[in-house]
Structure formats: structure tokens, C-alpha cells
């Protein structure tokens, strides 16, 4: 069985988990300790023994154990009492304890053992194969849990590094892009009359692409800021933020003759920045992803459900191809050509990351050609 478990060092070389797991065997009879020790040695774990409950308790203060084998009948402090005291330590709460006993096969002992938190109850004389395979199962579980913990830690670390990388990168890239754009315009202004039409066009390309790159950098920066900067919760009037966002989008709304309405937007305790980012992106997208055959209609509504507010932003736009829907919230994923629907593919991923950070979630439904409904939930803040 242990052969099926990948070597931990493959996952995280040199990390603390590379040390073998420990088994603690507690029995007042030395010959029993030796026998069990010999039996379990092939499993590859480190084995530590104690000949009394008191000694066992001292040992669990010092070391971390994958499993404890505990004799029930011992002088001074019996196995049940020892287990009970062990379980009061937080580090021992999840450590499996197997009781080994010769005294009784009566149910109430097994029941008491289970109440204390024993995972198993083995009777003497011990069947070596059964004990070995039981211990082996718990060792594997322990190893797997350790692996998951280590993987989680290294994932968390590389995520943090990536976010920091994105932040530093985009922050430092702003400067040179701005400079490129500035000097393209200085050149146009400076030498405008002497430039050929081609040269002017080429300078135009530099300008257009610098502007596009700047937009991307700003979007990456706001994506990476979510989670880096502290979220402050305030009493937020969502209707007011909606009105401000509509005001900001006024030119687009007027040009497209769009109708943007709201209903039931609450006052709730949340991040005002989050609400603004969500409405800017979702209403902005609803206005953008339209084929121009009819005026856009966008409605933003909210209703209260158990412990959450559910917001919906519905539009009558081009909709989303269901085949592409799983890519929608992935950063840099764009489902359309830049010329058709300009954008950086960061907005929705920023929205979902932010919503999740605030304890909510985000999803959508759509009918291609008829429109989409984006839904997000937020804790009601009470």
C-alpha cells in the first residue's frame, strides 16, 4: 500500500515533511512493546515507545505523531484516561488512536473508546497482519494529508509571488509606455510638417498601441490590487453608486440610445470600491457587447435572500456562446476580436476575484443572440 503513495520529496524537496511519520506505542509490558515495534518496523515509520500513560503524555508534548497505539490496561493511568488527556491537546485532536486490549470484548468498552475519539479497537492476541494493515492505512492517510498541506503552502506561496510579480511588472511598465506615447506625440508636434503621410501613420500606430498597452497595464494593476490592498467595509448605498456609474457612462449610453434601469438596489455594508468595480464592468460590458441592431437595454436589480443579496445585471446584447462560457472569468481570455469588441480580458476576472474576496460569488446565464444575465451575491453584512 505504501508503494502507491508518491514519495513526498518529489513534491517539496527539503521541506519539513520529508522526515518519516512517527508512531507512538504505549504499553506497560516491555515484551509487548518490542513485539509491536518489530511488527511495524517494515512500514517505514519512526517508532517511539512509552511504558506508561504519563510517559506517553510527555512525549506528545514534544513530538508530532501520525498514529498512537494504546494499551488499555496499564497501572496508574489506564489507556482511556491517557487518551482523554491526549485529546485535550489541539495538536492531538486529529491523531488517530487505536486501543489494544485483552481485558474485554464487551461493547461498552468499545463504546467508551469511540467516545474518547479512538478510531479502532483491537483485541489481544493481536493478529499481526490485521494490525499492520490498519496502521498502514492510517500512515498513508497521514502522508497524504501532509502532502496536501505542503502543496497548499507552496501553491499559496507561488500565488503570492505571481501577484507580486504582476503588480511590480505592471507598475514599472507604466513609465516606459507613457514615455513612448509622449515622445510619439512630441515628434508629431515637433516635426509634423516635415513628416510624410506614412511616417505620420506609423507614429499613429505607436500612439494607438501605447494607449492599448497602457489600458492593459492599468487593468492588470487593478486585478493584482484586489487582495493586496485591504478591503474596507462601509455602509454603501448601491443606488447612489449605480447613478454615478451611469453618469460616467453617459456618453456611451447617449450614443447607443441605451436604456439603463435599476430596481431594488439596497443599502448594505460592503466595500464601496467593489460595488463600483462590479457595476462599472457589468454595465459597461452590457452596453459594449451589442450588435447595434437595436438599442441596448440594461437592468440592474437586487433582491434579498437568506443571508445574501443577489444582484442581477441583465442585457439584450449578443449573449455568450455556451461553448466558451467556462473561459469567461479567466484572466486575459477574450472571446472576441479586439476590432469587434475592444478590451483586455481582465475586467470579469477582477470582478469575480473581488466578489469572492468579499465572501460572495459570481455567475451568469445567457442565450446567444438574446442577451446575458450576470449574477453576483454579497453577504448581507448584518
Amino acid at each position: 500500500m505504501s508503494a502507491a503513495t508518491p514519495n513526498r520529496s518529489e513534491y517539496a524537496p527539503g521541506m519539513a515533511g520529508a522526515t518519516p511519520p512517527c508512531i507512538l506505542i504505549v504499553d506497560d509490558r516491555r515484551e509487548n512493546l518490542l513485539a509491536t515495534q518489530a511488527l511495524l518496523r517494515p512500514l517505514g515509520a519512526e517508532i517511539i515507545t512509552a511504558d506508561s500513560g504519563e510517559k506517553a503524555l510527555t512525549l506528545v508534548l514534544k513530538s508530532e505523531f501520525a498514529i498512537v497505539l494504546l494499551d488499555v490496561q496499564m497501572p496508574v493511568m489506564d489507556g482511556f484516561e491517557t487518551a482523554q488527556l491526549m485529546k485535550t491537546r489541539p495538536s492531538m485532536a486529529n491523531v488517530p488512536i487505536i486501543f489494544i486490549t485483552a481485558i474485554s470484548k464487551e461493547d461498552h468498552f468499545a463504546t467508551r473508546a469511540a467516545q474518547i475519539g479512538a478510531v479502532d479497537y483491537i483485541f489481544k492476541p493481536i493478529n499481526p497482519d490485521i494490525l499492520k494493515s490498519k496502521v498502514s492505512v492510517y500512515l498513508d492517510l497521514y502522508r497524504q494529508r501532509e502532502q496536501i498541506l505542503q502543496l497548499n503552502a507552496s501553491l499559496r506561496q507561488s500565488n503570492e509571488e505571481l501577484e507580486r510579480f504582476a503588480y511590480v511588472c505592471s507598475h514599472d511598465m507604466q513609465e516606459p509606455v507613457r514615455m513612448m506615447n509622449a515622445y510619439a506625440s512630441v515628434l508629431t508636434e515637433f516635426a509634423g510638417d516635415e513628416l510624410s503621410e506614412d511616417s505620420k501613420r506609423y507614429l499613429g500606430y505607436i500612439h494607438d498601441n501605447a494607449v492599448r498597452m497602457q489600458k492593459m497595464i492599468r487593468d492588470i494593476l487593478s486585478f493584482s490590487r484586489v487582495g493586496r490592498e485591504e478591503v474596507t467595509l462601509e455602509v454603501v448605498n448601491c443606488r447612489e453608486i449605480f447613478d454615478e456609474v451611469v453618469h460616467e457612462l453617459h456618453d456611451t449610453i447617449a450614443r447607443k440610445q441605451a436604456v439603463v434601469t435599476s430596481d431594488g438596489l439596497p443599502i448594505l455594508k460592503t466595500s464601496p470600491t467593489l460595488m463600483r468595480v462590479l457595476l462599472q464592468n457589468l454595465v459597461g460590458n452590457a452596453l459594449k457587447f451589442q450588435d447595434g441592431s437595436h438599442p441596448p437595454e440594461v437592468s440592474v436589480t437586487a433582491k434579498r435572500e437568506a443571508h445574501v443579496w443577489r444582484f442581477e445585471v441583465a442585457d439584450n446584447g449578443i449573449g455568450i456562446d455556451p461553448a466558451l462560457s467556462n473561459r469567461l472569468f479567466t484572466i486575459f481570455q477574450r472571446l472576441h476580436r479586439e476590432d469587434d469588441y475592444p478590451g483586455t480580458g481582465i475586467g470579469l476576472s477582477t470582478c469575480r476575484k473581488f466578489v469572492r474576496l468579499c465572501g460572495g460569488d459570481m455567475s451568469f446565464t445567457s442565450r446567444p443572440g438574446e442577451g446575458s444575465v450576470f449574477t453576483f451575491t454579497l453577504p448581507d453584512g448584518d
Partner: protein, 142 residues
């Protein structure tokens, strides 16, 4: 309005120095611009040391944030904690829009925070507005 404004530009990017110089040639009031490439040089300038000997105390400091050696925030600290220089208006002129940077600079008593506009024409216009504003406030007491 004063006939001339002495500005200390603290900026390490040559391109920005050049852009600023160009923008301010047509500024009202007229500008005499001194350049320091980092906080250390800017301090030398305030103390009229080294290559800045015989110079004038600036009427306004335009200060970038990200610079080698002493950065903008550290220099701002020194200026605003000094009895001699704290009355000189300091306007941050930077590409950082980070809320943390903005907050920190105002906490250190910056007199203004202007994000360098991306567009070249806007850049020049904004600088001239800054100069016009500070040029029309009363002169510093000597």
C-alpha cells in the same frame, strides 16, 4: 502673480525632465527650472551645496516618487520635517496612481499630488496649470 517662479524638479527620468522643460517654456509665470535626479541631489540643492552653490531657494518643488538612492517619499519627509524648508510647497508629480502612495504622500504633508498624464499634450497642459496655480499664490515669507 509673480514675474518668475523658481522650480526644483526632482526627477530621474531624462525623458520626463525634457518633457517638463518643453512644457514649461511657455508657462505663465515664467519658470526657472533646476533639476535634481534624486532626493540626495535635491537636498544638496536646498542647501545650495556642490553644483547648486549660489542658487536660489525654490518657490515650488515638483517631486517624483520612484527614484534611486533617496526616493520621493523620503525626500518629502526630510523637507516637511525641517523648520527651514517645510514652507516650500511640494507637489508630487508621479505616474503612480496607487491609493497607498497618494495617502502616504498626503500624510507626509505633500501640498499636492498630480498623476503624470499619459497623453503628451495633457502632460504639458497639466504642468502649466500647476505652475499657474502656485505662481498666483502669495510669495513665501523670507
Amino acid at each position: 502673480m509673480r514675474p518668475q517662479l523658481d522650480i526644483l524638479l526632482v526627477e530621474d527620468n531624462e525623458g520626463d525632465v525634457e518633457m517638463t522643460r518643453r512644457a514649461l517654456t511657455t508657462a505663465v509665470p515664467a519658470v526657472r527650472m533646476t533639476v535634481a535626479n534624486n532626493g540626495n541631489q535635491a537636498l544638496e540643492c536646498l542647501h545650495k551645496e556642490g553644483k547648486y552653490e549660489g542658487g536660489k531657494t525654490p518657490d515650488l518643488i515638483l517631486l517624483d516618487i520612484n527614484m534611486p538612492r533617496m526616493d520621493g517619499k523620503a525626500f518629502l519627509n526630510v523637507v516637511k520635517e525641517s523648520t527651514e524648508f517645510k514652507s516650500i510647497p511640494v507637489v508630487m508629480f508621479t505616474s503612480s496612481e496607487s491609493p497607498a502612495d497618494i495617502r502616504e504622500c498626503f500624510e507626509r504633508h505633500a501640498n499636492g499630488y498630480v498623476v503624470k498624464p499619459f497623453d503628451g499634450t495633457e502632460y504639458a497642459k497639466t504642468l502649466r496649470q500647476v505652475v499657474s496655480f502656485w505662481g498666483s499664490t502669495s510669495e513665501l515669507p523670507s
